[in-house]
């Protein structure tokens, strides 16, 4: 299944150029529109709270330490899931990239596993592994796993054969080939997978928390909804957005640092 996968010529660099002043303007316009709708539509606050109401709720939740606690829980789940999912995917992806036999052995299961909607088996995982952090970390890891795996396979397969020849003519060891050739050569594609994985991991954590948890931003959404504290739901959702953006930003920053050699002059 991975045989026909061609590496992209260059990962998209769109993220590099994001956030000029136009982004600030459009953000202000969106908040203004939100304000106008909430003021003139006559919708009650438990349906659509006004921006300032959400802002006040945000400061309250921040001040009493609640928001930070739940954010910390979700963030740990996201990071642990991302880390374990990535480690497993890179290891398995490397083995698949290097061995056709191994690929034939595991590829059918991997493809079939992608037919399982993780969101649908999240309740099962929570039943099996309890409402604590572990079940969420597992969901994150499962969601992150496949895109990182595919990118690892593509990245490692795309290492140019002449460079392998060079390393062999210099009698490089297996470890030297991995460290000085395959890792740096596959890094652009691998980081592309990590970028996707980072945002997916946030989704995984929230899904797990919505299904059953006693902490975390997803839990916060659930309880606030039960109390018709819609402003708090907004606060939790906005925090999640910030979390995902921050993670994406971290990966984009890593790309900028590690891949300066392929920066395109425009």
């Amino acid at each position: 299944m991975f045989m026909d996968m061609k590496p992209p010529r260059k990962p998209s660099r769109l993220s590099r150029r994001a956030l000029p002043w136009t982004a600030v303007v459009s953000l202000c316009a969106a908040i203004l529109a939100w304000e106008l709708v909430s003021r003139f539509s006559g919708l009650p606050a438990f349906i659509l709270p006004a921006p300032e109401r959400v802002a006040v709720r945000f400061w309250q939740a921040l001040a009493d330490g609640n928001l930070l606690l739940h954010t910390a829980v979700t963030l740990s789940e996201v990071l642990l899931g991302l880390l374990s999912g990535t480690v497993a995917a890179v290891a398995l992806g490397y083995a698949i990239a290097k061995s056709r036999l191994f690929e034939r052995l595991v590829a059918p299961y991997l493809v079939a596993s992608q037919a399982i909607p993780i969101v649908a088996i999240a309740p099962l995982l929570v039943i099996w592994f309890g409402p604590g952090m572990f079940s969420k970390v597992l969901i994150c890891a499962l969601i992150v796993f496949f895109p990182v795996l595919v990118n690892t396979v593509v990245g490692v397969r795309a290492v140019p054969q002449p460079l392998h020849d060079l390393m062999r003519s210099l009698r490089a060891t297996r470890g030297q080939i991995i460290r000085r050739l395959e890792v740096p050569a596959a890094l652009p594609v691998l980081l592309g997978g990590l970028r996707i994985g980072a945002t997916l991991s946030v989704i995984g954590a929230v899904v797990g928390e919505l299904v059953g948890a006693d902490q975390g931003l997803g839990f916060l959404v659930n309880t606030a909804r039960g109390l018709y504290d819609t402003a708090m739901v907004f606060v939790a959702v906005l925090t999640l957005i910030l979390l995902a953006l921050a993670l994406y930003g971290v990966v984009a920053l890593m790309e900028k640092k590690l891949l300066s050699w392929q920066e395109v002059h425009e």
Binding site: D165, R171, Q176, L181, W261
Partner: protein, 246 residues
């Protein structure tokens, strides 16, 4: 005359295909003496690159053998394309063979810097390969092949991807570098002019399966200048090679 550094005996290669195998090289035998510059000349499909890949340890021969005096040799190889690692600067590309030998970073950089000067790339040490011209990239590749003081230099049509003017300039460069370093060189090419300008000896391979048809000593004086290519003797040798190829 000194003992050969490389002895090749009856080297044959057959690539498996659907009808009985494709014979690329047929019982090639020759010897190379230390500090000798030998060119292997042949049309495409004569198995000359295959020969080089066997000697570099990248391919196993179907039959026959080769021995290097003094056991497993250190090899410096230059490929048709510069084959630089795009994530390493020019200097870092040159330090690679030293790193693989476990040399400490600073010492490696100092040695690489000497190579930069040998190939005339001062000022380009920290350039990325994408910012180097074809000729410059191939100089870096030559520096990388020389930096770890190899026992033999294997050059696989190293100037094949360069334009004609750059290629001829690189001949003089390589000739100068060879005079300075006195390495044993085995170079594969399909250019008669290139072989005569650079080599002490030219081996001519026939069309597939490659067989050594002629072993010609090039008795042109060194150092060789551009004008030498227009002398009568050069023309005579060129005609001999041309006839052997056809």
């Amino acid at each position: 005359m000194s003992d050969p550094i490389l002895t090749v005996r009856g080297l044959s290669v057959t690539f498996p295909d659907n009808n009985g195998g494709l014979e690329a090289l047929d019982a090639a035998s020759f010897a190379v003496r230390p500090q000798e510059f030998v060119c292997v000349l042949g049309p495409s499909g004569s198995g000359k690159s295959t020969l080089l890949r066997i000697l570099a340890g990248l391919l196993a021969p179907t039959s026959g053998s080769f021995t290097f005096a003094g056991g497993v040799p250190r090899i410096g190889m230059v490929f048709q394309q510069s084959n630089l690692m795009p994530w390493r600067t020019a200097l870092e590309n040159i330090t690679l063979p030293l790193e693989l030998q476990g040399m400490e970073g600073n010492t490696a950089r100092i040695k690489a810097q000497e190579m930069i000067e040998l190939v005339g790339l001062q000022g380009f040490e920290s350039n990325w390969p994408r910012d180097l011209s074809g000729g410059m990239a191939q100089r870096v590749a030559i520096a990388r092949a020389l930096v770890h003081d190899p026992d033999i230099l294997l050059l696989d049509e190293p100037f094949g991807s360069l334009d004609a003017l750059t290629r001829e300039r690189m001949w003089s460069e390589l000739s100068r570098i060879w005079q300075a370093r006195r390495k044993t060189v085995l170079m594969v090419t399909h250019s008669i002019g290139e072989a005569l300008f650079l080599a002490d000896r030219v081996l001519v391979l026939t069309q597939r399966p490659g067989r050594i048809k002629l072993d010609l000593a090039v008795d042109l004086p060194r150092p060789r200048a551009d004008e030498m290519r227009y002398t009568a003797h050069f023309g005579k040798l060129a005609r001999k090679l041309k006839e052997a190829i056809e």
